[in-house]
């Protein structure tokens, strides 16, 4: 009755406590990464977690026999659930509507299990040690563990190990406690062999998860992005990464920034409103690239637009921007509008087959950084697209930076001209991109700056557009030649010009 508490036991309590808090922190962090609004996320997560622990404590009274073996089972289960929780959450994030259910389900489940641990442990030990001493020491180590966890988590674990690995590591520690209990109390437990092997198998499984965590969110990848990666997926065509830092949500395709939620309106207003503002009669619009639906969002602001056809190669990309709540908020559910038809196809082959014509064509492809995408910037391609443009229509091409890559930018203009189109180059400043360029192309020789603009635009206005049409000396037109399928000079210029910056 007066035996001193063995140090091993106290370590176990300490570990259990640390693990419990770590799981809570992981869930809270993940939820605020993925869903944004960290205050709400953390407070609901903590609330649900503590409540679930309470449920666990209450349930503990229904455990009557074989307390030791129940304790071991619960430890293994906590280890498995907690250890895999962040992987599971990352993997199911794509379908956000079910994400919340999974998130809170996991939190509640973990909370209940963690809530069971201490009451069970104390009941196991109450007859072996002095109760006064037991309560004091167990709770002391419980709270020390919590303190350590709350310090180590943001300072060491997240920066050096990442969310996924941290979860696996603490899962293993939980299972380790189970294994140690099996060994120490082996003679008191029925079927200890079965429990021992279960904990060894679980330990190995978690270890494998720890080692292969890279596959889920690669550690090296997270190092190349300064912000936290909240979504990553490799599709047959590209690697999609979404990062988040504060209110800044960024989309990367194959490592190249596509937009930052902070300033993307500057880019998307600039690519849409100079075109549609000048086409009050426009009814049908074609968008090539731009699977994020942000350009479409701007287009749908014009009530007279009847149809928008969006052609994007990557089904996963358009699916993501049609289902993820956070992204739907950003693109105002544009891709779900009944006016919008999404076509997942290769733009070049698709365009060759088309007969329908459009009032406006928005060409928003990734930069010509390789020979495959480079094909979509050739005279051959523009000659095809030209036939999809109504005689009074306007097309616009995102054409990289006239400041960083003047040769590339003016090559796009020259190539559009070689297709027999009149061009109107313009540019604006997008903080996350730098100085950015666009080129309008049309059959008619004159472009008139529109006098009126939609209400509610944050960037484009008449005086703003007039400024965008002006090219200061450091971005003035340079001599350029035509980008063809059989020379692809644009890819070479692009690489040359950007490599000096990056």
């Amino acid at each position: 009755m007066n035996k001193k508490l063995p140090i091993l036991l106290l370590i176990s309590v300490f570990i259990i406590a640390t693990c419990g808090l770590i799981y809570e922190l992981i869930s809270g962090t993940l939820a605020s990464y993925l869903l944004g609004d960290s205050v709400t996320q953390f407070s609901t997560i903590i609330g649900v977690y503590l409540f679930s622990m309470g449920v666990g404590s209450w349930v503990s009274k229904y455990f009557d026999k074989n307390l030791l073996s129940w304790f071991i089972r619960i430890e293994i289960l906590v280890g498995l659930v907690g250890g895999t929780s962040s992987s599971i959450l990352f993997m199911v994030f794509e379908s956000v509507s079910s994400f919340r259910i999974v998130l809170y389900g996991l939190i509640s489940f973990t909370g209940i299990l963690v809530g069971l641990e201490i009451p069970l442990l104390m009941r196991i030990l109450k007859d072996r040690f002095e109760f006064k001493d037991l309560v004091s020491k167990v709770f002391t180590f419980d709270y020390i563990g919590a303190l350590i966890a709350s310090l180590v988590f943001p300072l060491v674990l997240i920066p050096y190990m990442g969310l996924v690995r941290t979860a696996y590591l603490f899962g293993m520690l939980n299972v380790l406690v189970a294994l140690v209990a099996c060994i120490v109390f082996g003679h008191e437990i029925k079927g200890v062999k079965y429990l021992k092997s279960a904990s060894i198998i679980s330990l190995l499984a978690l270890l494998a998860g720890f080692i292969f965590a890279e596959r889920i969110t690669s550690f090296s990848e997270s190092l190349t992005y300064s912000d936290t990666i909240i979504f990553s997926k490799s599709t047959p065509y590209q690697r999609i990464i979404i990062t988040k830092k504060g209110r800044d949500l960024r989309l990367f395709l194959n490592g190249n920034l596509q937009f930052s939620s902070v300033d993307e309106y500057r880019y998307h207003e600039a690519i849409i409103h100079p075109v549609l503002g000048a086409l009050p009669q426009a009814k049908n619009v074609l968008v090539m690239g731009g699977g994020d639906g942000l350009a479409v969002r701007e287009i749908l602001k014009y009530p007279q637009i009847q149809t928008v056809t969006l052609v994007d190669l990557d089904k996963e990309m358009t699916k993501l921007f049609r289902s993820n709540e956070m992204l739907l908020k950003l693109n105002k559910r544009s891709l779900l509008s009944p006016k919008v038809t999404v076509v997942n196809a290769d733009a070049f082959s698709w365009a060759r087959m088309q007969r329908k014509t459009y009032d406006a064509i928005i060409i928003d492809f990734p930069d010509p950084s390789n020979y495959s995408v480079g094909k979509l910037y050739t005279n051959t391609f523009y000659n095809i697209v030209k036939h999809l443009l109504n005689p009074d229509g306007i097309m616009v091409v995102q054409s990289t930076s006239p400041f960083v890559a003047p040769k590339s930018y003016w090559t796009v203009e020259k190539t559009l001209q070689s297709a027999g189109l009149h061009t109107v180059p313009y540019h604006n400043y997008v903080p996350s991109f730098g100085e950015w360029g666009y080129i309008m192309a049309m059959y008619k020789p004159v472009y008139k700056v529109p006098d009126t603009y939609l209400p509610g635009l944050r960037f484009v206005s008449k005086s703003c557009l007039e400024q965008m049409l002006f090219f200061p000396k450091d971005m003035a037109r340079v001599p350029a030649s035509v980008n063809r399928l059989n020379n692809q000079i644009l890819v070479k210029y692009f690489e040359e010009e950007w490599s000096t910056v990056l």
């Binding site: 290769d346 020979y371 692809q488």
Partner: protein, 553 residues
Amino acid sequence: MRGGHRVFINNAIGRRSFLIRAGLLTGSILLNGCLRKLNGRKSEYAHIKGKLRGPNAKAGHILRDKLPIPEPSLTTSVKTLIIGGGISGLSAARWLKKQGETDFQLLELEDHAGGNSYHGANAVSAYPLGAHYIPIVNNEDSLLVDFLHESQVITHFDEHGLPFYNEYYLCFDPEERLLINGHWQEGIVPDFGVPPEERKQIEAFFRLMTAFKNAKGNDGRYAFNIPIDASSADREYRKLDKLSFKDYLQQQGFTSEYLLWYLNYCCKDDYGTPAINVSAWAGIHYFASRKGKAANAEPNSVITWPEGNGWLMKQLRDYVKGHIITSHMVYSIDVSDNEHIKVKVFDLKKQTSYTIDAGKVIMASPQFVNQKLLGGFSRKGVNYADMHYAPWLIANITVNKLPTAAKGMVLCWDNVAYGTPSVGYVNANQQDLKVIEEKKVLTYYLPLCDKEPRLSRLAAYTRIYEQWLDIVVPELEQMHPEITQHIEEIEFWLWGHGMISPAVNYIWGDTRKNAQASINNKIFFAHTDLSGISIFEEAFHHGISAAQQVLAG
């Protein structure tokens, strides 16, 4: 001729030693093949599907081995009969039709026309089984320019009269890369890691070639031209046919290993054999004969299709559709009759024979076949032993991924590795407009020139599919480590007589000249072996020239 006697002795010795070497070589390959069959394929190749195919060797050997053929039971007649459905034969047929002729037939041994411009296809892509491109053509070559215009390879002419080539057919960029010193460099002329002295030699060589390109002989014609027979007769240039390209390079002081590798590669690529077996005239012709200018492409640009020259072949073939009869083997031609040429034909499908009484015949078949067909008839001054045909292996490799270890240039149309036996591979999907293809077909070309042609040919005929895998896959692994697991299918195609090689003294020697002469103004000849270099342009012109002779008589 001096030393005639010695030649005879050499031939006798040569024959015996050939038999011994042939026996040893084929014996060892057979043995190895048996072991392969017994042990099965290497386990790492187990997943690779495919077959070994080639031209109908069985039918060809009926001719060579004089196997029994049923006697002809009936006789038909035709005004002009063309034997052979390669580019020469198809071009002859096209010309006859263009001139309003209707009474002509083209017989082809295979079950398809095309010759070595034949092609294949699988679920991923069409692909060549032989010739796969033509460079932009010489602007003075109006017959060829007309044909290309007809088939919309040339879409129009600009204000300076320069042809505008169809942009879907001009080879898409990037065109060529070379794996050298562990790096994929752009272009095939060695550059990466080449020491400065050798670079200077390479530059000097190209300066020399540019001079040859612009050179004209004392008769005012280009020293090197296409078709070959449009070249100058100036002895100053023609004497270059009397020594090997290798000796010529040595005489000129070209010693750079990188340069010599490159020139051997070029000879293998176009002639199927290294510089030592090619005349200097032919070696220079490779660099100096193409002078084409285009409105929308650089000089020396190439035109290509997924199915290679199969695309051009189809244009010719479809134009003369009703006149082509396939799976018909001519096995004897009798020139003794004054009225008609009696051509005996074996229908390979029905296994029956018949005789065709032809007014005139164009033999668009290689001369080693003609020798058999003409039986005892001896063509004056034609020494068949002067004609060397290079055997080739073509492998069409379907991969679901192309792993790359070496840095540098990305996948190009033509991809070559320094110092390998093959001449590299061509991306059959190069002209694809898709931004991303998941699978690709790579057409790999291996000239079988490590031994003399007949020995290499014999060895090649002996090898089974698994043995070709053992040869080809390791080289691919060298270019792309860990590619094996990504190979889904390899189709091998073996050409026993892939192409004529321009051996020393062949192009401007007597045999080639005499072999072009008609027999009694009734039988005319059209084939690239009458040029000594096996390119589309030569075949195209031989066909037209033979058809013109038929019409003139």
